[in-house]
Subunit: 177 residues, 2 copies
């Protein structure tokens, strides 16, 4: 009986040790991102829908300046972006791919316009990437924010979750969950 209890405890402990890390930020979607051919035209339609001015889209820095990697290789790709608030701590991001070698361009070429990803803010980025990796959802694309104050990562989650997940992480810990 003692032996059985020991076995059970050992097994429970092993399970807990093996359980993948789950970041406190996972569970609250903060962004719905749409890839489109013409971000200005799409933003005008969103502006009309929401009754809000369309914020001026801005183009990200060239990939080389924001440490952009795409499927494991450096990329020079860029995108033109704009954002609309659509709830408390929830934005729609519109993304027009610029240049080659990005997941944005790959998505547009394969699927046409549509929802490219949904995003979570993450407290521990390294642990979360490792955890996704262990669960068969590796990194696709990673880069620094233009302001050089944080990182974003697209994870290969579409086959399992039906959508690509983006992890967002600021250098300033007070901006993360």
């Amino acid at each position: 009986m003692k032996f059985a209890v020991c076995l059970l405890l050992a097994s429970t402990s092993a399970l807990a040790a093996d359980a993948p890390y789950r970041d406190p930020g996972i569970g609250k979607v903060v962004q719905i991102a749409i890839v489109c051919k013409d971000v200005n035209a799409c933003a005008q339609h969103w502006s009309q829908l929401l009754g809000k001015p369309a914020p001026k889209p801005r183009t990200t820095l060239p990939g080389g300046e924001v440490h952009l990697t795409y499927r494991g290789k450096p990329s020079t790709g860029q995108a033109t972006l704009t954002f609309f608030d659509v709830g408390q701590d929830l934005v729609v991001e519109l993304i027009q791919p610029v240049g080659p070698d990005t997941h944005w361009k790959e998505f547009l070429d394969r699927n046409g316009e549509g929802v490219h990803h949904i995003a979570f803010k993450i407290r521990d980025l390294d642990k979360t990437i490792a955890s996704f990796n262990e669960q068969g959802m590796p990194l696709i694309q990673r880069g620094r924010f233009d302001k050089n104050n944080g990182d974003y990562c697209y994870m290969d989650t579409k086959d399992k979750l039906g959508v690509t997940i983006e992890l967002l992480h600021w250098d300033d810990p007070s901006k993360n969950p």
Copy 2:
């Protein structure tokens, strides 16, 4: 000068009268819906991601019992659904198409798995459908909720907004914005 002011006033008034109706519910996304091939498998992956039990999926009533119309014609189509909370008043809906003649099946056949729509709760459904229609975004699919206590409508917004919009409306006005 007086003539010019009168013209200006007349023009402003005409613009206001012509402005499309914008429902108070437009602007707050309440749902991100993903079409998938196997809702049970996809729900297991979401359960693992979020660390929450997977709610048991349920299959909607046959289209004929919930006044389902698809591209203007009655449909017998169904879907198997489940939901996960991913924020305050925000859910991920997983949808597996069942049977023919639905926008869910059309999406899966054309695009594979992915985000099918995002949803807003609406106060005045008839006015909102008319308003979307005026703006070149007509109705694609409409049906009653299974509990026969409200309606959902998919609007043809993908070309303009990059994603299909769903309008949700309960018969009980206190449940709407």
